[in-house]
């Protein structure tokens, strides 16, 4: 089947079986390999993308169900101010080790900060987190707050 999918603001025409998970369309068909395969059963979160701004596991989304939804991946998340701040905080705090799951972590953290720009520790704990990730979300949150103050002040 032929589908047209909006990814990072660009319409992509792809040919894929209906049941092909979005993950594999992104990686193998479109060539956006930043979204990672870890388990294929929505356990690990490495394949997290945003579907109309909401974090979702792309290994569980058949391409046929994407429709007109706007898909955002790690390659496009830096186009939003929140995503960019999160990436900057990650770099500043040297968060990643092997880095394989980090696309998923950043997508989750960005979604959290988009819905809740000043999360409490408990909020972060619920959403995700470990050590530097926790610190990096805080850093991104502070830096967002500063940006907002500058914009509004």
């Amino acid at each position: 089947m032929a589908y047209t999918i909006a990814i990072n603001g660009v319409a992509h025409s792809v040919e894929a079986d209906d049941d092909t998970p979005l993950l594999w369309v992104l990686r193998d068909t479109v060539g956006l390999v930043g979204t990672k395969y870890g388990c294929g059963i929505a356990q690990c979160g490495a394949c997290t993308v945003h579907v109309d701004g909401t974090p979702a596991r792309s290994c569980q989304i058949p391409v046929a169900s994407v429709g007109n939804a706007q898909i955002t991946t790690i390659e496009g998340i830096g186009d939003s101010p929140v995503g960019r701040k999160v990436q900057q905080a990650w770099i500043e705090l040297d968060v990643a080790q092997c880095g394989y799951c980090q696309a998923g972590q950043i997508m989750s953290a960005t979604a959290l900060l988009k819905s809740n720009p000043r999360p409490s520790d408990a909020d972060i704990e619920q959403a995700i987190t470990y050590l530097r990730i926790r610190a990096a979300i805080k850093r991104a949150s502070e830096s967002l707050a500063q940006t907002m103050e500058i914009q509004h002040g």
């Binding site: 193998d28 390999v33 059963i41 490495a46 990650w90 880095g99 950043i106």
Partner: protein, 735 residues
Amino acid sequence: MADTPAITASRRLVLKAALGTGGGLMLCFFLPTGADAAPGKAAATEFTPNAFITIGADGKVTLVAMNPEMGQGTKTSLPMLIAEELDVDWANVHIVQADSEPTKYGRQFSGGSRATPIHWDQLRRVGAVGRAMLVAAAAQTWKVAAAVCTTEPGQVVHGASGRRIAYGDLIAVAATLPVPDPKTVALKEPKDYRIIGTAQRQVDQAAIVTGQPLFGIDVRLPGMLYATFQKAPAYGAKLAGADIATQKAAKGVHDVYLIDGPTDPQGAVSGIAVVAGTWWAAQKARLALQATWADGPSRSQSSEHFHAQAQELSKQPPTMPIRKDGDPDAAFKGAAKVIEAQYFYPFISHATLEPQNCTASVKDGKVEIWAPTQNPEPGRDLIVRTLKVKPEDVTIHMMRCGGGFGRRLSNDYMVEAAVIAERAGVPVKLLWSREDDMAHDFYRPAGYHFFKAGLDGSGRLIAFRDHFISIGMNGKFSSSANLAPEEFPAFAVPHLEFAASIMQSAVPTGPMRAPRSNALAFAFQSFIDEIAAASGADPLALRLDLLKAAAAQPKPAAPAQGDPPFDAARMIPVVQRAADMAGWGRQVPKGSGLGIAFYFSHLGYFAEVVEAHVGGKGAVKVDKVWVAADIGSQVINPSGAMNQVQGAVLDGISAALHQRITVKDGMTVQRNFDDYPLLRMPEAPEVEVDWVKSANSPTGLGEPALPPVLPALCNAIFAATGKRVRSLPIDLTSV
């Protein structure tokens, strides 16, 4: 890792070469390697004093990261060593990842926390050679003695006149100069370091957070197809038959191949490969295959069977002596108190989050490989043997690994990809599913320890015995399933015996992050806690007493080659520091406890204290971990170092709380992260780290922080509840 003979042998080779006693490699290491670097060449556009360094006319510095990167940080920390002694501005350094070319760089692998101890001296000398040549070039230009010239980052300075020349302006002259013997070049005093000891980000951090292609799984080549590979579910079993016609005709499928191969899981074993236009199409067709498998050597083996066998063997004398000091039998007879306990740890899987994969292209007898591998050269050997090609016709690109932990010391997936690509005639990316990865690992071996300790009338530990029941084949331990005679409390107890019995096993095993130590630390340091409880001693005080006893023994002679032995005296301040950090002895809330443990592995001295809380229904919450460590005189990159320690501690807690591979009918029961869970984010405690600096040469960090956290956690649970954990993963409902 450290206990794999292949690596140990090769490491010695590299050390020998680095020390200048081997000759051959030394030349390869330090002679100019490119035409551009040939001495005397007119108007050089680059200065390449050796295989690791290139300086352009614009002053741009390119350094080679020689080892595979799997998150352990050597792509950053090893070039830092070169940059320090070359004396350049780190912000101006560009890092390139080496291919696997050992004749150019020496042995390239990532394992055993070896990068720092092997390369600390050698790579600083690589940098110092470049600096010496740039200084000589400036001296020649100024017609002054080299001895009166110094450097500042990126430039040579003549102190008396204040003249300066940028490195980029010296390359033409420097390229004409002889390359000095690396043994003779002067190294900086540590007080003058500008890069070593400063926190630097991983060089790929920005590429990681923006999703750039870095990992093996990210490789894409023109005309590339995707492959999946169905192997026998049972270890070492072969394909008996398969109907592949239907799947050959399936939509998107390019071809299906029956692969014949050896039963050794290190090679390209027998199975069915599906090649398709996308991985999903290949995987769908592969899951629909109908295949039958012959019985392998492991058919009758199971975790349950090993367990029953171990109980039987524990009642018989051990068959393999490992160490005997004094007269343990007599000491136990004379002991005022004897305690016994049985410890068990299961098989566990590496579960690298990036499943095993490799991209291969085979054309006209030339093989090109893109692999996330920790240990590329044995992969080249496998390909040479299997595809009957020449070693020099195999090119291996070492891709970033999404975790390694020892799994990628084996190259089974690499040779599989090469075999499939040869059949396909086009480049192929082989990707294992998560289920494949869990089913076909080289597992951390399971093991049983039947301990006995004897105390004298004053509660002093006088006798210690471990009957270790392990797995192996024909009387030889499986990989990473052995026990060394130096295991603590050797040297600390007058009457001591280590001995083993081996259960016949065909379960593939291999090194896993802190191999052996990741299991032995749990068993030994937990039982030492039991000894403390039995003698009424404080767990910290008993450990310090035992370490003092070991330190008072005459030191075993350091081997001429290989690692220095455990130095108990070095561990004492580390244990004390961890205790001080945690406020050992303080009151903790009801249901909480503090536990302590120490462990020496991979040349690192580590002591850790865990504060844990045990709630209703035995739910364990790790609140905080304090880590004290002596890894020598320098922590090369404090940011990377902190990451390694925190990661290792969380890895250990994950194994302690969750991980278990069960064997049934000669195959792995667990399939994915739903039945083999890893530590979840909210379970991750704060980890505080402090360094105990010593006058020793710096050592590595990928592994040694892991082992002590398991017993420290179990000991904290005992302090909180009085329940002794003797079996992993921790399940307080069964204690």
